[in-house]
Symmetry: C2
Subunit: 123 residues, 2 copies
DNA sequence: CACAAATGCTACACATGTTAAGTAATTCAG
DNA sequence: CTGAATTACTTAACATGTGTAGCATTTGTG
């Protein structure tokens, strides 16, 4: 992730802010609990990240009208722009890593990491 | 590392404090720069960790007499005891993970992670 | 020897993981 | 319907990673 962090720091974003922003953009209106699940974050961390993203006006939040404990998070115009400006370069960096390692070994690494994750956390 | 964190939290230590303590114990008198290298930590992080370990009296520090910019870090008696009390259980947990994954896949994972590390950081 | 550059650490600021509490809103049992 | 769980988040506290500065000590060079 090092190179990607460098890329994003130019946009004033951190790695996790970027991940959350992408999740929100890809999924459309979504609540924090689901974001945390998709981005593999705990709610306390997500709370702070959403606050930062809202300050930067990259996302908008409002209460759910059906269940006022919930929020609905949406990407804002500025957020769409940030993604448009960085997504391509970000994917390119990942692809480069994949090629440098060799596609097969890259996939094997991902598989083994998933397996490790399963083992450590049976539930 | 989850299970190991649980084990160590019982001893009032964090994962990195434990790693640093083990490096100091294994290497004998050593300076912070070498510790950071062996434990894969940056010096600012290590500075704080050494401060905590010194507060807990698990290590001792003194200036190097030849080069007063340097320090010499040594494990203290209480530190030896902490290691004696936890090393076996810690190694056991790692071995269990290795067996659960299968020794071959476990080694393969370590190899691939090293390879990834080499690629991302040519220097 | 004097001074600039390098070295070894430390101090700070900011972001996050993690655990434990706390709050508001909803659900459910009696 | 009312009080006890539960749910969805937020806050707080502590430890660490990371980048940037700063300080003291050494080294290298003229």
């Amino acid at each position: 992730m090092g190179p990607i962090r460098s890329l994003l720091s130019g946009a004033g974003l951190t790695e996790q802010q970027w991940r959350v922003l992408r999740v929100v953009q890809e999924s459309g209106p979504i609540d924090p609990t689901q974001i945390a699940d998709k981005a593999c974050l705990l709610l306390p961390s997500l709370t702070r990240i959403l606050q930062k993203l809202e300050e930067k006006q990259l996302i908008s939040r409002e209460r759910d009208k059906e269940d006022r404990r919930r929020q609905v998070v949406q990407i804002a115009v500025a957020g769409e722009k940030v993604i448009a400006d960085n997504l391509e370069a970000s994917l390119e960096l990942m692809e480069q890593t994949r090629l440098k390692m060799g596609a097969e070994r890259y996939e094997a690494l991902l598989d083994l990491l998933n397996e490790l994750d399963q083992i450590e956390m049976p539930e």
